[in-house]
């Protein structure tokens, strides 16, 4: 890999600049969504931890994270998970079945699946964002 002493984020931007193909973008976005998911995991664990203080405390926390703002953010969470999952399957398929040559085609198939999933997600989640309860 290209060696640079540039900053935390610039390193990745440089990499995309050196090889501006879909594969590099997929790699960059896989890294980015992965890091977001690791950080999310800690938040998830934090909310679940409230159960140790009993059911009532747990419910209090859950009602905090089940409001329209969080339901809106959940659409983003689904997007991050869906991209990482579908691109991850693409990487696994290309690795295990020696499909390096058509990897770009597989990427676009994954992205069409991503778009379909996001349309379904919006149909399911948007009413929750605009519901008053």
């Amino acid at each position: 890999m290209y060696e640079s002493k540039s900053g935390f984020f610039k390193k990745y931007v440089d990499e995309v600049g050196l090889n501006p193909n879909v594969g590099t973008w997929a790699w960059f976005l896989h890294r980015l969504t992965g890091v977001i998911l690791v950080l999310y995991l800690f938040m998830h664990l934090f909310v679940l931890s409230s159960s140790l203080a009993g059911g009532e405390t747990f419910n209090k926390w859950l009602s905090t994270v089940q409001n329209p703002v969080f339901h809106f953010l959940e659409i983003g969470l689904v997007a991050v998970v869906a991209f990482h999952l579908l691109n991850g399957l693409r990487i696994t398929i290309t690795d295990f079945f020696f499909l390096t040559k058509p990897h770009k085609t597989i990427f676009w198939i994954a992205m069409i699946t991503f778009l379909v999933l996001m349309v379904i997600t919006l149909i399911v989640f948007l009413p929750r964002v605009f519901s008053h309860h």
Partner: protein, 118 residues
Amino acid sequence: MNQKPKKGSAYGWLFQRITGIFLAFFLILHFQVLHFTKEWKIDFDVVTHRLDSTAWVIFYLIFVPAGLFHAFNGAWQVIGDYRPKLGIQKTVKALLWVLGIAISAYGYYLIVTFTKGA
């Protein structure tokens, strides 16, 4: 220059893919059950009721360490992008293993809390 590649292990690569396949199925199920149902509001009773079933307990017992392995092994790969010095590599790797096992144990403890119910 005729440099021989360093001997390494591909277990990290392999298990990232194996846990990834598991997580793909687990996460789809996890989202389906928690967010894509008509009764999408979650509270303590809903969670404890689900954990009355042994199948769900087994599901979470696999889900927690698989997710944490995938997360921390992935973080390890991202750290590797920055080519840290060997000493730092060893320290970070040990730290990630300790943290991963500790959080898995904590996750199991939380699962037990939910199985006890209200």
